[in-house]
């Protein structure tokens, strides 16, 4: 049989009740907001800074792809690879952009083949369609590291002065273009 105890009452205790209430409200709120965010997304450290200059071999022709040669115009820089399945999603859009770049000359667009095997990359292009623009070959991913690349595909939006305005991690879609092209002075 239990012996019951009647406890005398005591008031106050605000000094711990208040923090407890704060935690009660704050923690779920914080975690709730956290749920809406993607924990894997890293903001680019290059935004607002000049694009790193580079010179790397072409993927499918002789010679070197030099970033300086494409300065003076807004630029799209797209990192892709044959082993990246999501790249196939954005491929048609990139080809389209390549055509537009050639016709209107509003902007330049370049590809960087990242950590790939040239034979496989060629096979990928044969299957999915060739870009109308050249791609550089980043064999070991050095250039990717210089650009802070952490996943595939990634596209950088660089304005005419060579300043990186945006980095999109993931496939390029109309929505993405509508958001970022204006930042580099191009109509979507």
């Amino acid at each position: 049989m239990t012996i019951e105890v009647d406890m005398p009452r005591k008031k106050g205790g605000l000094e711990w009740k208040l923090p407890l209430l704060a935690a009660l409200v704050g923690l779920p709120l914080l975690l709730g907001i956290g749920l809406t965010r993607d924990p894997n997304r890293i903001p680019s450290a290059l935004v607002g800074k000049s694009m790193p200059a580079f010179e790397i071999p072409y993927l499918q022709r002789a010679g070197m792809l030099n970033s300086a040669e494409h300065a003076g115009k807004p630029m799209l820089l797209n990192f892709w690879a044959s082993w990246c399945t999501t790249c196939r999603v954005e491929h048609p859009k990139l080809v389209e952009l390549g055509v537009r770049s050639q016709l209107s000359d509003e902007f330049s667009i370049l590809g960087i083949n990242y950590r790939d095997d040239p034979a496989r990359a060629a096979g990928f292009l044969n299957r999915e369609g060739h870009f109308g623009y050249p791609s550089g070959y980043d064999e070991r991913g050095r250039l990717g590291i210089d650009f802070g690349v952490y996943g595939m595909p990634e596209t950088f939006f660089i304005d005419a002065d060579g300043v990186v305005q945006a980095r999109h991690a993931g496939p390029v879609t109309d929505k993405v273009l509508a958001k970022y092209l204006p930042l580099i002075g191009v109509d979507p």
Binding site: T2, L20, L24, P39, N40
Partner: protein, 666 residues
Amino acid sequence: MIETSIELGQFAVSLALILSVFGCFQAVLAARSGAASRLVSARNAIFANFVLATIGCAVLIQAFVTSDFSVAYVAQNSNRDLPMLYKVTAMWGAHEGSLLLWLWYLTLFSAAAVWLHWRDYPKSMPWVIATLAAIQLGFLAFVVFLSNPFLTLTPMPGNGRDLNPLLQDPGLAFHPPVLYLGYVGFAVPFAFAIASLIRGQTGVEWVTVVRRWVLFAWTALTSGIICGGYWAYYELGWGGYWAWDPVENASLMPWLTGTALLHSMMVQDKRGMFRAWNVFLVVTTFLLTLLGTFLVRSGVLTSVHAFAVDPGRGAYMLGFMTVAMVVGYGLIILRADRLQDDGGISSLLSREAAILGNTVLLLVVTATVMAGTLFPLVVEVFSDAKISIGAPYYNKVIVPIMVALVFLLGLGPSVPWRQMSAKRFVGRFRLPLAFAGLTAVAAVLVSEAGIITLAAIFAVGFAGFASLADIASAIAARRRVMEQGVLRATGDVLTHSRQRIGALIIHFGVVMIGAGMIASGLFQTTQTVAMRIGDRAEAGGYTLTLRELQDTGSANYNARVARFSISRDGELLFEMAPEKRFYPVREMATTEIAIRSSLAGDLYMVMGDEDGQGTVVVRIFWNPLVNWIWLGWLVLLLGALLSLSKPSRRAARSRTPEPIEGVPAE
């Protein structure tokens, strides 16, 4: 109606969901009206749910054993070529199944709690059942609507995707099941505390009732965490066992508050104090177990442990956790006026003060870990920047506080209740302090240890000596008083002072673990060398010679092995063979680490890259005393079993003292 066994499983959990609602209602009504019949039907619902959950688990395990790929969960996590052990353990290898395991434990403990305490605590039973049924409801709804392992796949695939190779390891058989035992084990003390709060009585009842539940849950949680560390140690190949990964932190936090609870409960039991602390600690511990579930499954934080990211599930868990938070903390705030202490702390040199210090320190560590884990999220929400808080931060910041805790661990058990004169204090701890001083001095002479390391060594030496001395003096006191021989005295002390001696043994186990962590963490040697066949390297006093590099393999993988001969002073002792494997189905590569264990430490080798011309890069670790961690855990387990074997006192307010404990009365 039910054609396949998998449909039976689906039916069982759905029925359990309905019964949990029913049981909760009946229990609440029983509490209000005092109707015994309602209480009985609520109890039956609890028992029934255990049977139903068992059916659900059995059905799922059977689906794995028979490789029934019509079940989507089985198809995603198993494969015809998977060894049988892994087919069974794969049941809890991913989100849905592990949740079902959690649920099964919950129904098991609910039924056990009701069955064990039915007669003794009739006034609390309605609210205990209501709380447990509500928790079951939360998890059952989650399983049935958002994480259903019984979903079928049409058309049925010919073979499954295979279990993640990292999980194809005996570790999966132990780590999650034991860890979940710990997590879910805290649900019962939580329920009793809630019942006590609702009834407006926070008397001696709930802590005395749940002493063994808390100890059991704490021991299981400790074991689960250490098991996970051991698994990471021999599986992942970075020479360590704890990475301060968010999910690891999520399991550490309830352990910290659970440890505080375990000790603070004693004070409420003995002197009717710290009532508010204890309800706060038990609610917080339970909430932290839910937080852990949330963090692993919601995708809020990145982690090597995370199951697939699913914000929908995360939202549900967050909602569930918020409800539990509001109920738990809300009740504490509402009933604050009844959480008064019967007595007070009369002196700094007292058991009460030591335990209060223990609680405060553990809460500081918990808050620090939580801050570190969540701070990147806070920064991201408010500033869109992204910072990183990783192992280097935690190691720097937590270790000093842990050192203070270890020191306190040595002090606490020997400090009597109420008060102790300063003179007696010095007298009692003279020897352990001297011993600790000697070990610290020895450490300085033998190595270039830094100040924190020396403090840690001092604390470990002190606490180890003090714990053993306490056990020895208990036996000696009994010998003196009862005029017995050593063996007889030891046997009697172990029989009659189970709680105290068990606690001292647990403490000593913790000290061993601490010693192992200090040595293997701070005195580890590591080297990365490029070796050709015939080359020799030195580590831990051994000479390692590379003998050959060869290709090998098994049913579902190909491998490349580097065979080493290990010798000391020219004498060949043993061989080690680290390897690298490739699993074609999942296209995953793993490294198999070679470990040679001894009491002095581990030789630990990881095979790196080859250059194709006969050179292989090898990482070689020497981890001193690392096995003291696992051995210390065994000691801890023995102490816990001893303490658990003492039956709980009935919660009558009895003032008769415990049988002779060996600590001379003050």
